[in-house]
């Protein structure tokens, strides 16, 4: 900066540096040539600070509204949109199965092998205890029909596999029925002491379970399922493991361990019991997990079921979006749906088309009324205004139902036409439960949203312009076309945006008068929210609808220009 001031001769006349130079002369400049405020801090800094304080104050003023909008508008919508890709339920409910399935290849055309079924047994047993398996079943049933009952049925019978071993262990020695025997076998002495001292009435939390040393390596499978069991009854039921017989899953684990591990050197509690069982298990009646699952339902041998599980195992899925555009995620990859199952493309197109038709009929009907409103003397204009607003004060359902009474085949309009002899009694017009009915009813309902912005723009157009045009020789038509109409376009723009965006998300009216050919995409969204409970698909459809509206808005801005839209003078 000193360079600039040192060489002023290059610039003629006053320069931005002049005040600096003057300030320097006033001693308000520091050694680096920065200007100082009255309190000695650099001016730039102090300016920035005061600006920041002002901004902060403004932010504080709007903070309540901002928070309100964020919490009640942005957050729920973001949450809903997130559901369209979220898919944690599979890996949450069946974590080991999902992992084991990674080694399996759908292309093999065969169901996976024993280890995957073992993992499934483990996961499904726990899920059935937590009653989460049916929920997963209905989730996957959206993708492959039949999984819902497969999971429900398997969840009901998953106890049976372990029960077979449980019975055999208990037949061998009744001690295996004793909760205490299990607790002493698996739990550490310190925990046993604490657990015994625990008093249910006291309301104290249950003591943390501690494994007996060495048992995890001696009986790994048993340990894992026993830990699941203890964790479950501690947290879900608040029960002491001393009072609860272990799940049948634990007995299956014990069987597996005794077959695989050597317990001859074990010398802890109940060593004899364990060694006795070790000698006997070789003669137990057995069934592999795979055989067991196939006996519950042979669908478990169907690679499609496993393929679906594999395809939907990631935490995030494109499946819902694919469904929303008439495709589906299958084990073979994404593909188009069967032709007789495609519906969303048709509905999106129909929603667009009908919303446009409704918008244009609103313009056609609304423009003359708005013109009248703006140009009539105050008194008559007010009366007309009341007529425009009157529908607003009537329930939407009543207005829609009124159209039913008007338009149906035994309705007012048909009756009048038949009475006048314009149509025969046998050929009454079909005007409801189709597209026509929806367009008529919705045009009527949305008309005020078109008229009001048009009116407020038209009422600001000075009448002298048209008069001036006429005095310069324009005909009525030319004056209107060249002078009045261009000035009313911002009103049409605003009304069109309002009506189109309202129409595209409309739901009640098409549901009541739309029949089968006059329904919108929002009717399907409502169906998936409230009936099929497929919220993921509903969210995907909603996201696409939102995106389409935003794109249209962008295109509108490029073509018409959003600055040309006015809601009032």
């Amino acid at each position: 900066m000193s360079d600039a001031t040192a060489d002023p001769g290059k610039i003629e006349g006053p320069t931005p540096d002049d005040p600096l130079a003057q300030a320097k002369a006033l001693d308000n400049v520091d050694a680096q040539g920065r200007m100082l405020a009255a309190d000695g801090t650099p001016l730039k800094k102090s300016l920035a600070r005061s600006l920041r304080i002002q901004k902060l104050r403004a932010l504080m003023l709007i903070a309540p509204l901002l928070l309100f909008v964020l919490l009640t508008f942005v957050a729920p919508i973001a949450d809903m949109l997130f559901r369209s890709v979220e898919n944690q339920i599979v890996s949450d409910t069946l974590p080991r199965t999902v992992e084991a399935l990674q080694d399996w290849d759908y292309e093999s055309g065969e169901a996976p092998d024993e280890p995957v079924f073992d993992a499934l047994y483990d996961d499904l047993f726990l899920a059935a205890e937590r009653r989460e398996h049916t929920r997963l079943g209905s989730r996957l049933n959206y993708e492959t029909t039949g999984i819902s009952s497969l999971f429900r049925q398997t969840g009901r019978s998953v106890e049976d596999l372990g029960d077979a071993y449980l019975d055999q262990f208990e037949e061998l020695n009744e001690a295996w029925e004793e909760e205490v025997v299990w607790a002493e076998l698996m739990g550490s002495d310190q925990w046993l002491e604490e657990q015994r001292a625990w008093d249910e009435e006291s309301g104290d939390p249950l003591p943390e379970f501690q494994l007996r040393e060495g048992v995890a390596t001696l009986l790994p499978e048993t340990t894992r399922s026993f830990l699941n069991f203890v964790e479950f009854i501690r947290t879900e039921d608040q029960e002491s493991p001393l009072d609860e017989e272990p799940w049948s899953r634990v007995y299956t684990g014990l069987y597996t361990d005794l077959m695989n591990e050597d317990v001859a050197n074990y010398s802890g509690p109940h060593a004899e019991l364990l060694q006795e069982a070790d000698a006997a298990v070789a003669d137990f009646e057995t069934q592999t997990t795979k055989e067991f699952f196939l006996s519950v339902d042979e669908d478990w041998g169907d690679p499609r079921i496993w393929g679906t599980l594999e395809a939907f195992s990631p935490n995030y899925t494109s499946g819902y979006f694919l469904n929303a555009v008439d495709m589906q995620l299958t084990p073979e990859g994404a593909g188009l749906r069967d032709e007789d199952e495609r519906i969303y493309g048709l509905l999106f197109k129909r929603t667009m088309f009908m919303s446009l038709v409704i918008t244009f009929s609103c313009i056609l009907l609304g423009y003359p009324i708005a013109y009248l409103l703006a140009n009539l003397p105050m008194r008559s204009a007010n009366l007309l205004m009341i007529l425009v607003l009157l529908p607003f004060w009537t329930s939407l359902l009543v207005r829609t139902s009124a159209w039913k009474v008007m338009l149906q085949q035994q309705g007012v309009i048909n009756d009048v036409l038949v009475w006048l002899g314009l149509v025969g009694d046998a050929n009454r017009l079909v005007m409801i439960n189709n597209q026509f009915g929806t367009i008529v009813a919705m045009t009527h309902i949305l008309l005020p949203f078109m008229i009001l912005p048009m009116y407020s723009v038209m009422s600001t157009i000075p009448p002298s312009y048209v008069r001036a045009a006429k005095s310069l020789g324009a005909t009525n038509v030319t004056a209107f076309r060249r002078v009045y109409f261009p000035q009313s376009v911002p009103g049409i723009g605003a009304g069109s945006i309002l009506v189109f965006i309202l129409a595209i998300g409309y739901y009640i009216t098409p549901e009541i008068v739309g029949g089968t050919t006059g329904t919108f995409i929002s009717n399907r969204i409502a169906y998936h929210i409230s009936s099929s409970l497929n919220w993921g698909l509903a969210a995907a459809l909603g996201t696409i609808l939102l995106a389409v509206v935003l794109i249209l808005y962008w295109a509108y801005d490029r073509i018409v220009g959003i600055d040309n839209v006015k809601l009032g003078g």
Partner: protein
């Protein structure tokens, strides 16, 4: 001696426990139902007598049963269950139970035993029998979806329709039909009239060809059908003379015929039985749960279920209630022998599986 002491102590504890439980009952309940005549029958038969016994309790009705599944899921996610007892149809109950939104109940434990005319006690599970279609479900009534027709629009010389296939017979019975805008029931009726035996309907419907067959049969009348979505639509369409015949719930037809005196007749052939009953939402606090259990025990006993039939033409779900139904009401019941010569049993499990798949097909067929 020690034994006696323990026994005494246990008894005392149990008594104390009972007393505590009795005190810990909330004094208000929110019941959810369908509104209209049906809710009124519940109010008269269950709630009014219950409130006479418990004057301190206040009961609020919420008429949201048709969106109960979605609402309960939203409440569950928000962790704030505002409903205490919800009236839903069986298929919704199965779904709520699957989703973990409804509480599983032990019917023999929480419900009052049934009482036969001779004064014998019957276990609730035997009394309700097959109607307990889900572990979460406490059935109240049996209703049916069946057809009503305009008696004055039956062509001269023709018999009034008395066969489900008359719905397809446009030559003998011209005029529009009203059918529900969903595949359930319609697909079954179509197959029945396309020559499929009654006990094979669901096997056929499980196949792709079977679904196409049903839709092809529906195609024959598609142009003459008005598709309804609310239970009140068909009665209205019949009353206006818009349709010649239409499917709806039998109780709705009863009120069109008996209360509004419209020229409408019932066609009971191939009526499809369905159930309506209570579920208790999962996750109620203890005091509210105690109150609900107390109410449910009372409201689903033999006498109360029979009382409900005084107000609406739906059959009680308990076997033991059937003899107590008033004589003049019996002829309007879907379960009356004269009406139930040919009935169709709705397969819940099938629809729980195939609903999404067939619905996609059905809606796409409708939209074409």
């Amino acid at each position: 001696m020690k034994m006696t002491k323990t026994l005494l102590a246990t008894t005392a504890l149990t008594l104390a426990g009972g007393a505590v439980a009795a005190q810990e009952m909330a004094d208000s309940m929110t019941l959810v139902s369908w509104g209209g005549a049906y809710q009124n029958s519940q109010q008269q038969a269950y709630v009014v007598p219950y409130l006479e016994m418990n004057p301190d309790v206040s009961v609020t009705w919420d008429e949201s049963s048709n969106e109960a599944v979605a609402q309960l899921r939203a409440m569950n996610e928000a962790g704030n269950i505002t409903w205490d007892l919800v009236d839903v149809v069986a298929s919704d109950a199965i779904r709520l139970c699957d989703e973990g939104l409804a509480m599983e109940v032990d019917h023999d434990e929480i419900l009052a035993p049934g009482e036969t005319e001779s004064g014998e006690e019957v276990d609730p599970t035997d009394d309700f029998g097959d109607l307990i279609v889900s572990d979460c479900y406490i059935p109240q009534i049996v209703y049916s979806t069946t057809f009503g027709y305009r008696t004055d629009m039956v062509p001269d010389g023709a018999e009034p329709p008395n066969d489900i296939c008359d719905v397809w017979d446009l030559e003998t019975y011209p005029g529009q039909r009203a059918l529900e805008r969903r595949p359930i029931n319609n697909m079954e009726w179509a197959l029945l009239c396309d020559g499929v035996a009654k006990d094979e309907v669901y096997d056929v419907l499980a196949t792709e060809e079977g679904q196409d067959q049903a839709l092809a049969k529906l195609d024959e009348i598609k142009d003459e059908v008005i598709w309804w979505s609310a239970g009140a639509d068909t009665p209205q369409l019949l009353a206006d003379g818009e349709v010649f015949m239409g499917s709806t719930y039998n109780g709705r037809l009863y009120s069109v015929i008996e209360e509004q005196d419209q020229p409408v007749g019932m066609m009971w052939d191939a009526q499809v039985f369905d159930l309506d009953g209570w579920i208790i939402p999962e996750g109620l606090p203890e005091d509210r749960l105690n109150r609900v259990l107390d109410f449910v025990r009372f409201a689903t006993d033999t006498q109360r279920l029979a009382d409900q039939a005084n107000y609406i033409s739906y059959g009680p779900a308990r076997d033991t209630s059937a003899p107590l139904v008033p004589e003049e009401m019996k002829q309007h019941m879907p379960t009356d022998p004269a009406n139930s010569e040919n009935t169709f049993l709705y397969n819940y499990e099938f629809w729980a599986d195939y609903r999404d798949d067939i619905d996609a097909k059905f809606q796409s067929w409708l939209a074409q």
